[in-house]
C-alpha cells in the first residue's frame, strides 16, 4: 500500500514539471513582453530593466527555466500588480474560503447525487428514471453563472431567505485563526457565527454543486445498473441475503469505484466553477481574486492562481487514486 502511494507520488513529478513548463512559456508569451506585462502600469524603463535582471528574462532560455523552476518551487509568484501584495500570501489567505465553498458544493453533489442515482437505477425504465436522466442532462447544461444569479434573485433578493453576498454578515466579528469560518466559529465558541456561515454557504454551494450533482447522479445510476446485472449480486441473493444487505455490501461497494473516480474529476469543475460562483456572490476566495485579476490584467495573480489551483487539482486526484486502491483490493496487489 505504501509502495503504491510512493509510486503515485513519483508520477506526479513529470506532471508538475510539465505544468511549470507550460506556465514558463505562458509568461514569456504575455503581451508586451513578460517584464512589461508583469509590471502593468508601473512599467518604467528602469523598473523593466530591474525585473529583467531579477527574473533573468534576458538570459539564455535554459538558464531562465532553471531559475524559474527554483522560484516556483519556493512558491514565489511575485507581486500583484493591482493589490501590491505578495501573490502567494494572498492566495494562501483566500484559499480556505474557496475550500469551504467547494467542500459545501461537493457535499451537496455527492450527498444528493448518489442516493438519487441509486434510486433511479433501481427503478430503471420507470418514470422516475426518465425524469432523472433528463434532469441530469439539464443540470449539466445550465451555466453556473446563470444558476448562481437565479438562486440569488429568487432566494436572496425576492424571498430574503438567505444572504446575497459574502461569507459572513458584515457586522459580525470573527477572529480568523484558520480562515475556515466553520472551524473558526467553533474555536471561538460563537454558534451564531457558525449558523451565519452556513447560511451564507447554502446558495453558492447549491449553485456550484448542481453540475457535479447531475454528473454524480448519472454516473451512480450507470454504475449501479451495471453492478445490478453482475453475477455476484445474484449469488448474494441466492444465499438468502436481504435486499438491504445486498444493496449496501454487494451493490454499492462495487458501484462506488467509478463514482469515486468521477468525484475526483469533478473537483476540476468545482475549482473552475468557483471562479464564476465567487464572482456572483462576492465570495472572498481565490475564484473572486482570479476573476478580478482577469479584468485588471493582473498577470502575476493569474499565473499564481491558475498554477495553485492546478496543483490542488492534481493532489486531489492523487488522493482519489489512493482512495480507489483502498476500496478496490484488486488494484492494491499490482
Amino acid at each position: 500500500m505504501f509502495k503504491f502511494i510512493v509510486r503515485r507520488l513519483l508520477l506526479l513529478i513529470p506532471i508538475l514539471l510539465g505544468l511549470s513548463f507550460l506556465l514558463f512559456i505562458w509568461v514569456r508569451a504575455l503581451p508586451g513582453g513578460p517584464a512589461t506585462a508583469l509590471l502593468g502600469e508601473r512599467a518604467t524603463p528602469e523598473r523593466v530593466a530591474q525585473v529583467n535582471a531579477a527574473y533573468g528574462f534576458d538570459k539564455p532560455v535554459l538558464e531562465q527555466y532553471v531559475k524559474y523552476l527554483g522560484r516556483i518551487l519556493r512558491f514565489e509568484f511575485g507581486q500583484s500588480i493591482t493589490l501590491r501584495k505578495d501573490v502567494t500570501d494572498e492566495l494562501l489567505r483566500r484559499f480556505p474560503a474557496t475550500v469551504e465553498l467547494a467542500a459545501a458544493a461537493m457535499v451537496f453533489a455527492v450527498g444528493l447525487g448518489i442516493p438519487l442515482g441509486f434510486a433511479a437505477a433501481k427503478r430503471e425504465r420507470s418514470w422516475v428514471d426518465s425524469t432523472a436522466i433528463v434532469a441530469s442532462l439539464a443540470g449539466v447544461s445550465i451555466p453556473v453563472f446563470f444558476l448562481a444569479q437565479i438562486l440569488k434573485w429568487i432566494f436572496a433578493l425576492k424571498l430574503n431567505w438567505f444572504p446575497t453576498i459574502g461569507r459572513l454578515q458584515p457586522t459580525r466579528e470573527l477572529e480568523h485563526v484558520t480562515n475556515f469560518n466553520l472551524i473558526d466559529s467553533v474555536i471561538a465558541l460563537d454558534w451564531g457565527a457558525w449558523v451565519d456561515t452556513v447560511k451564507h454557504l447554502i446558495l453558492p454551494g447549491i449553485a456550484l454543486g448542481t453540475i457535479p450533482l447531475a454528473i454524480v447522479a448519472r454516473i451512480t445510476r450507470a454504475s449501479v445498473l451495471e453492478v445490478l446485472n453482475e453475477d455476484y449480486v445474484r449469488t448474494a441473493r441466492a444465499k438468502g441475503m436481504s435486499r438491504r444487505i445486498v444493496d449496501r455490501r454487494h451493490v454499492l461497494r462495487n458501484a462506488l469505484l467509478p463514482i469515486v473516480t468521477v468525484v475526483g474529476l469533478q473537483t476540476g469543475l468545482l475549482l473552475s466553477g468557483a471562479v464564476l460562483t465567487e464572482t456572483v456572490f462576492a465570495w472572498g476566495g481565490i475564484g473572486q481574486l482570479l476573476s478580478g485579476a482577469v479584468l485588471d490584467k493582473d498577470y502575476p495573480v493569474i499565473q499564481g492562481g491558475v498554477m495553485f489551483l492546478a496543483v490542488v487539482f492534481v493532489l486531489v486526484n492523487l488522493i482519489v487514486d489512493v482512495l480507489y486502491a483502498v476500496i478496490d483490493p484488486r488494484i492494491r496487489v499490482r
Binding site: 510539465g18 447544461s141 445550465i142 451555466p143 446563470f146 444569479q149 476573476s291 492546478a310
Partner: protein
C-alpha cells in the same frame, strides 16, 4: 418427405427474423428517429443554427443601436413590451436583437474552436495510436499535463495571454479540446489496431496510411461525432463563461451572451429579465446539444442493441 420440409419451412418462417447486416448509419438513424428526446435536441440545434445564420433578417433592430437610452434609469430598465419583445438592455439597446446576433457569435466561436481543437487533437491522437512507441508516450504525457488543469482555467490562461478579442476566446476554448480528442482518437486507433483485419491486411503487404485512412478512421467516426456534439455544448458554455469574466471582444457593443449576463448582475433586483433571458437562452441551446449528443451516443452503442 418434400412436403414435410416445406411445411417446416413455412412454420419456421413465421418467426421474427433478425435483419442482419443493416448498415451502421441506417440503423443509427432509425434509432435516433424513434427517440423523442433526440428529436427535441435536434430541433433545438437546427433552430439555433437557423437563427444564427439568418440573424440579420430575423433581428428587428440593429443590436448595437442604443436609441432608447433615454428610457434607462439607474433603478429601472424596461422589460418586455410590444416594441421590444425582450425589453431593453442596460445601455438602451434592443435585447431581442442582441440575443439573436449573440447566437451568431456563439455559433461561430463554438464551431471554430471545436474545429481547431478537434483537428489538432485528432492528429496527435492518430499519430499516437498508429505509431505507438515514443510518439504515444509523448502524446500521453502532454495530454496528462493539459488535463491536469481544469478546462476553464486553462482557457482562461490562454485567453489572458492572447489578449482581449474574440479570436482569443476561440483559441482559448479550443485548447481544452485538444487532449480530449487526442485521447479519443488514440484509443480508437489502438482498438482498431488490435482487430484481426488489420493484422491480416498488413501481412498481405498493405501499407499503413491507406489502411488508416480507409478503414480505421471511418470506424472511429461515430464516437468522434458524439464527442464533437457534446464538445460543442461545452464550447458554448466556456465561451460564455470567458466573456462573463470580461474576456472576449474589446468592443462592448458586440453582443455576447456571457457578457450580457455579466452586465445583468448589477440590475438583478430591478431588471431580472437582463439575466433571465440570456441565461435561459444559453441553457436551452446547450441542453439541445447535450440531449442530441447523448441520444446519439446511446444509438451508436452496440451494447444496447437488443
Amino acid at each position: 418427405m418434400a412436403t414435410v420440409q416445406e411445411h417446416l419451412q413455412s412454420l419456421m418462417g413465421n418467426r421474427v427474423v433478425e435483419t442482419a447486416g443493416s448498415s451502421l448509419t441506417r440503423e443509427t438513424w432509425r434509432r435516433l428517429r424513434a427517440n423523442r428526446i433526440a428529436m427535441v435536441g435536434g430541433a433545438v440545434i437546427v433552430f439555433f443554427v437557423l437563427v444564427a445564420i439568418f440573424a440579420p433578417w430575423l433581428a428587428p433592430y440593429d443590436p448595437r443601436v442604443n436609441t432608447w437610452f433615454d428610457q434607462i434609469r439607474p433603478s429601472s430598465v424596461p422589460g418586455p413590451s410590444r416594441e421590444h419583445w425582450f425589453g431593453l438592455d442596460e445601455s438602451g439597446r434592443d435585447l431581442l436583437s442582441r440575443i439573436i446576433y449573440g447566437a451568431r457569435t456563439s455559433l461561430v466561436i463554438g464551431i471554430v474552436s471545436l474545429a481547431i481543437g478537434a483537428s489538432i487533437g485528432a492528429i496527435f491522437g492518430v499519430l499516437a495510436g498508429a505509431f505507438g512507441g515514443w510518439a504515444d508516450s509523448l502524446v500521453m504525457r502532454v495530454t496528462d499535463v493539459l488535463l491536469s488543469v481544469p478546462s476553464l482555467l486553462l482557457a482562461l490562461s490562454v485567453a489572458a495571454v492572447i489578449g482581449q478579442s474574440q479570436t482569443a476566446v476561440m483559441i482559448a476554448v479550443a485548447v481544452p479540446n485538444i487532449p480530449l480528442f487526442a485521447r479519443l482518437l488514440r484509443s480508437s486507433m489502438m482498438a482498431e489496431r488490435e482487430k484481426d483485419y488489420v493484422g491480416a491486411a498488413v501481412s498481405v503487404g498493405i501499407k499503413r496510411r491507406p489502411l488508416v485512412m480507409s478503414h480505421i478512421l471511418p470506424n472511429s467516426l461515430g464516437p468522434m461525432i458524439v464527442q464533437g456534439t457534446l464538445a460543442l455544448a461545452t464550447a458554448v458554455i466556456d465561451a460564455a463563461a470567458l466573456s462573463f469574466l470580461g474576456l472576449g471582444s474589446a468592443d462592448p457593443g458586440v453582443p455576447e451572451w456571457g457578457r450580457m449576463l455579466a452586465n445583468a448582475q448589477r440590475y438583478l433586483n430591478v431588471a431580472p429579465h437582463l439575466c433571465l433571458i440570456p441565461g435561459f437562452v444559453i441553457f436551452i441551446t446547450v441542453l439541445g446539444f447535450n440531449l442530441f449528443g447523448e441520444s446519439l451516443r446511446e444509438a451508436l452503442d452496440p451494447k444496447l442493441r437488443r
